[in-house]
Amino acid sequence: MQLSWSSLLPVFILLSSMIPGLLIFAVREEQVSLRTTLNLTGVVLKLFFVGLMLYGVSRGQDFRFALPFLPNAPLVLHGDALSLQFVTLSSVLWLATTIYAIGYLGKAQLRSRFFAYFSLCISATVGLALAGNLITFLLFYELLTLATFPLVVHRGTPESLRAGRIYLAYTIGGGTMLMLGVALLHSLANTQEFIAGGYLSDMAEAHDVGLRVAFVLMILGLGVKAALIPLHSWLPQAMVAPAPVSALLHAVAVVKAGAFGIIRVVYDVYGVETSTNLSLTQPLLWLAAATILYGSVRALQQQDLKKRLAYSTVSQVSYITLGVALVGPLAAIGGIVHLMHQGLMKITLFFCAGNFSATLGVHKIQEMDGLGNRMPMTMAAFTIGALGMIGVPPIAGFISKWYLGAGALQSDAMWALLVIMVSSLLNAAYFLPLVYRGWFCASPQQGWPAEQSWPGQRFETHWMLLLPPLFTALLSILAGIFAGSFFSPLGWSQFIVAREFSL
């Protein structure tokens, strides 16, 4: 194996968060500036490396790193277009969340532990995105579980421990399923590298039972993190974690890891053709559609802001699965681009929710009256995120829904279009009241539940809390407005899908 910068770049991307993470474990609680420096150095380095790779991949360069691990199953890190999309998303949002978390945690206890595991989570997510074959993917998938767990139980209260137990029960169970699926596939066809169109087409007939079972096992495993029903219940529970965790991990890294895995399995392992031939996509489509509707309905019932957002995540993440399972180029673009768009919008919403609770102690929906007067900028970002979720142009969410709808038509699945429309109506039904309350209702007479101020505070809240949601809200608008350009999420998704469907 030749070591050149193109083979080491994926490793650098991985290590740029892992090494700071491990170092932070050793940092004492009161060494704030050292910890912050480590964190930010990691972020900047990672963004730099990702930028390099983006540039390289767009020029057709190949970034591949391999290490022997198991017979016929090496560890491979491979930067291709699809993985880069996820990597870019995670890295950019890591930047925002790191700043947010520094502000949010303030002087709380055990910050070193928090930031260390946080960095490890990002490393696991990035590793999972860069994984070049199933075994590498599995490895990072499990590492992600392990690294997230301490963050879920970070508060150490009885309810967070309970959430942690539920989280582990689901994810370890899911991880085991995934492992069985991967092992089964390995025994049938070895572990080959992900390739557009899959590598199983020539054995689909001989081993149809085995391939089907492996697919079901893997979807069971991935479905846990992607929060497909009935494997979703851990997600709302896990909302007891601190806001940055909910924001980055449960809106982006963890759930997207599941969805991303489904994309990989359907497109790059089985291939569209083989999975259709084995009639695997149809059940997946039903499952995704059911999850979308179920999540929306449950979101409507929630009175707790973060719970509502969590159920909304359940619903929205399944758009990605829906797009994948519809098996058509347009739907695929919709699904893949939604991976990006949903991440931007949902993290905005979570940041805002965190701001509300950190600044004013607002947790419940009834308490949101008049928030727009007290915190106009945060509320504006929240509104952008909410409208984007509903699918109002020109915000990014519109683009993904448009492509999904067009994809449903292209695949002759009218009912899927119907599902998207109904779900959008439900989205509106559970987001618009919040926006309405925030802008048009009067502030409560008795004041806010628990208002807090920071020394030297110049804005409506601490600047480190305010900046990230504004940044991500801006990004979600930009992603919508400049959707036509090559470097927008949409342009990149078209680039990916063109390869997959060999257009």
Binding site: L70, L161, R165, T176, G210
Partner: protein
């Protein structure tokens, strides 16, 4: 072969020397000197057995050494195979880790630990090398006696479990010896390689193998003959629990493997294989279940040994049932991964127990803050027991799964592995979750011992580091014998 001989002779010489000097190890300095000596010895032993491993890996055939130069089965023979060399290396490694712990950890080891641990090392090394049924009996006895003496080191509280352990172990050895007598009666031979050629499938052979198997299963605490193990392992001093769990129970398993995969005719092996595999699954489930229910920390770790041995037995059973040499690597990877992980678990448990002043699991509330490194070691080692990638436990499970999954008619066995994984995840994470409790922290009694905690972490890191050599290990061990 000469390298292997050095790794046997060194600990035995050390035993005699320590015995002769008989310096009372009371002061810190004396501990350092004794510990330092043992560390040097184990390092040399480790390097020579490593050389032996390289030697064994390089040769295509098994090398024998007829002791005293007598051929034709008259004398005992030593045998060096990759598995043997690997076990030699592994034994020296674990002994080295524990010697480091005993020397540098504040909680250390009892004063008589050193010579006994060298006894254990020497007898294990002799056992791995031996290719003679009766000589195996002698080494087994040597091993059991040193194990019991080590358990008794914990003081009067451990004497009852130690006595029970000793009696059962003696009875088990005698069952084994009875079997050996019958084998000699039938074939007139004791040398394993020579028996392989002549042995055939008849009632006496079956009876002999059955007796030996029963004895060995009792010694290895294979379910359902495991009842002595939790008490003995839990009451022993920390370092001793680690030795017992990582090494001692593996020795009878090794003999069992030799018997069934090399001595017994394949027809019989194929018949007993599914039984072993089934017992293995039952061990996984019931052992894991007991581990989930016990309120005591070290008992939990001890029961997890019972459960984890189920994997090894399952691998052995399937190896026999299908006569697939690849299963060898699953078996020995399990043994090594479990040994390393268990060393870490026991050391970490000992650290937490001493620091937090309780033997109960409930005392671990808040351990992520009070004894962070020990708890981290516990979780990391636990991850290997569960089989999370890319730990050593995962490697083993992967190798075991491959042949199971490739044939649809074997899929039911996978359920057993699945169950085992979930149960072990349940008992490890039950404890880990508790350690994150910040609401009801159990305050430590004494300041924690950082060196000891870090030393507890070392084997856990090693077991995850096995991933780096995964492919080589699997190939080396997969060759059979």
């Amino acid at each position: 072969m000469n390298y292997a001989l050095v790794s046997v002779a060194l600990p035995m010489i050390t035993v005699v020397l320590l015995f002769l000097v008989a310096a009372p190890v009371y002061s810190r300095l004396q501990t350092l000197v004794t510990g330092g000596l043992v560390i040097i010895i184990t390092v040399i032993s480790l390097s020579t057995s490593w050389l032996a491993l390289l030697e064994a890996a390089a040769q295509s055939t098994t090398s024998y050494l007829a002791i005293g130069g007598w051929e034709d089965g008259l004398a005992i023979r030593f045998r060096l195979t990759p598995v043997v060399a690997l076990m030699l290396t592994f034994t020296a490694l674990i002994h080295l880790l524990l010697a480091l712990y005993g020397t540098f950890s504040r909680h250390g080891v009892p004063k008589d630990y050193w010579s006994l641990s060298c006894f254990l090392h020497g007898s294990l090394a002799a056992l791995w090398l031996s290719a003679d049924l009766f000589n195996l009996y002698v080494t087994l006895e040597l091993l059991s006696l040193s194990a019991v003496a080590l358990v008794a080191l914990a003081g009067p509280g451990a004497w009852k479990p130690a006595a029970d352990y000793l009696l059962l172990s003696l009875a088990a050895s005698l069952c084994y010896l009875f079997g050996v007598a019958l084998i000699y009666g039938r074939y007139g031979l004791l040398d394993i390689a020579m028996l392989t050629v002549v042995v055939n499938d008849d009632l006496i052979t079956r009876l002999a193998l059955l007796l030996m198997t029963a004895g060995l299963m009792l010694k290895a605490a294979l379910w359902p003959l495991h009842l002595w193990l939790p008490a003995a392992h839990a009451s022993a001093p920390t370092a001793v629990s680690a030795l017992l769990s990582a090494l001692v129970v593996k020795a009878p398993l090794f003999i069992l493997w030799v018997l069934w995969s090399q001595v017994a005719p394949p027809v019989m092996a194929q018949q007993i294989g599914p039984v072993f595999a089934l017992i293995g699954i039952l061990a996984l489930v019931f052992g894991g279940f007991s581990a989930m229910r016990t309120p005591y920390l070290k008992v939990l770790v001890a029961y997890s040994t019972v459960a984890q041995l189920g994997y090894a037995l399952m691998a052995l059973g399937l190896l026999l049932a299908w006569q697939q040499p690849e299963m060898n690597s699953a078996l020995w990877l399990f043994v090594i991964a479990h040994g390393l992980a268990k060393t870490s678990l026991f050391l970490a448990a000992g650290q937490m127990q001493t620091t937090l002043g309780t033997k109960r699991i409930s005392g671990l509330r808040g351990a992520t803050q009070t004894t962070p490194i020990a708890m981290f070691a516990f979780a990391v080692a636990g991850g290997s027991l569960i089989g999370l990638p890319p730990s050593g436990g995962f490697l083993a499970k992967w190798v075991l799964l491959e042949p199971l999954l490739s044939q649809p008619q074997n899929w039911p066995w996978v359920l057993g592995i699945l169950l085992g994984t979930l149960v072990s995840a349940a008992y490890i994470f039950r404890l880990v979750v508790m350690a994150f409790d910040r609401a009801r922290i159990n305050p430590p009694d004494i300041s924690s011992d950082h060196v000891g905690q870090w030393l507890a972490l070392v084997p856990a890191v090693l077991v995850w580091g096995m991933a780096l050599a995964g492919e080589q290990l699997i190939q080396l061990l997969g060759e059979g014998i």
